[in-house]
């Protein structure tokens, strides 16, 4: 079946503008994760959705960042009033949801550049 998809693949924006990044997880996956990968850094956990439970937002770096997941499927990560330090690759991953054999499947990422 189809893998995790993300859009747009690239986004260039001006400092201060808002951006929305979209993630379509693998069908049937109940868990969805957002990560940020800055140049030369590892993957930084941002937020985690599991089914209908309240999301784990502990990784969001500031209140400019928010995410939602509609209908337990598609997720949107919103960055308000973007700053240059927000420039990074934003990765989405999904998994079946909490089992012992849990494996994350990653999307191709959205490369965000804030000028």
């Amino acid at each position: 079946g189809a893998g995790v998809s993300q859009s747009p693949s690239n986004k260039v924006t001006e400092k201060g503008k808002d951006v929305e990044l979209r993630c379509d997880p693998i069908s049937g996956h109940t868990a969805l994760y957002w990560y940020r990968q800055s140049l030369g850094q590892g993957l930084e956990f941002l937020i985690y959705f599991q089914g209908n439970s309240a999301p784990d937002k502990s990784g969001l770096p500031s209140d400019r960042f928010s995410a939602e997941r509609t209908g337990g499927s598609v997720s949107t990560l919103t960055i308000q009033r973007t700053q240059q330090e927000d420039s990074a690759v934003y990765l989405c991953a999904s998994s079946w949801g909490g089992g012992l054999g849990e494996t994350q499947y990653f999307g191709p990422g959205t490369r965000l550049l804030v000028l």
Partner: protein, 113 residues
Amino acid sequence: AQSVSQHNHHVILSEAASLELGCNYSYGGTVNLFWYVQYPGQHLQLLLKYFSGDPLVKGIKGFEAEFIKSKFSFNLRKPSVQWSDTAEYFCALRQVNFNKFYFGSGTKLNVKP
């Protein structure tokens, strides 16, 4: 706080050389451990994983990793690398009671033909 450390940031090898990439973590509870690989221009994909049982785990493309609990390590090995192994490798940890993953900063492997 939980963390995953990959001390080798950039490794350059010739084909047929042996590979060992270090991964250490700090977390006292039960963990699942993973190695992910990102080939140039491709998505991150799972290389191998450890959940329980035999601490020596075999993955795709001849890779293996050994979980040494006493050393909090999960090093990745391959006896003979190929040019096609050129990629970035990430070690990751999952806290078993929380579905949260922590990734290392990655190791870029460059295999010279």
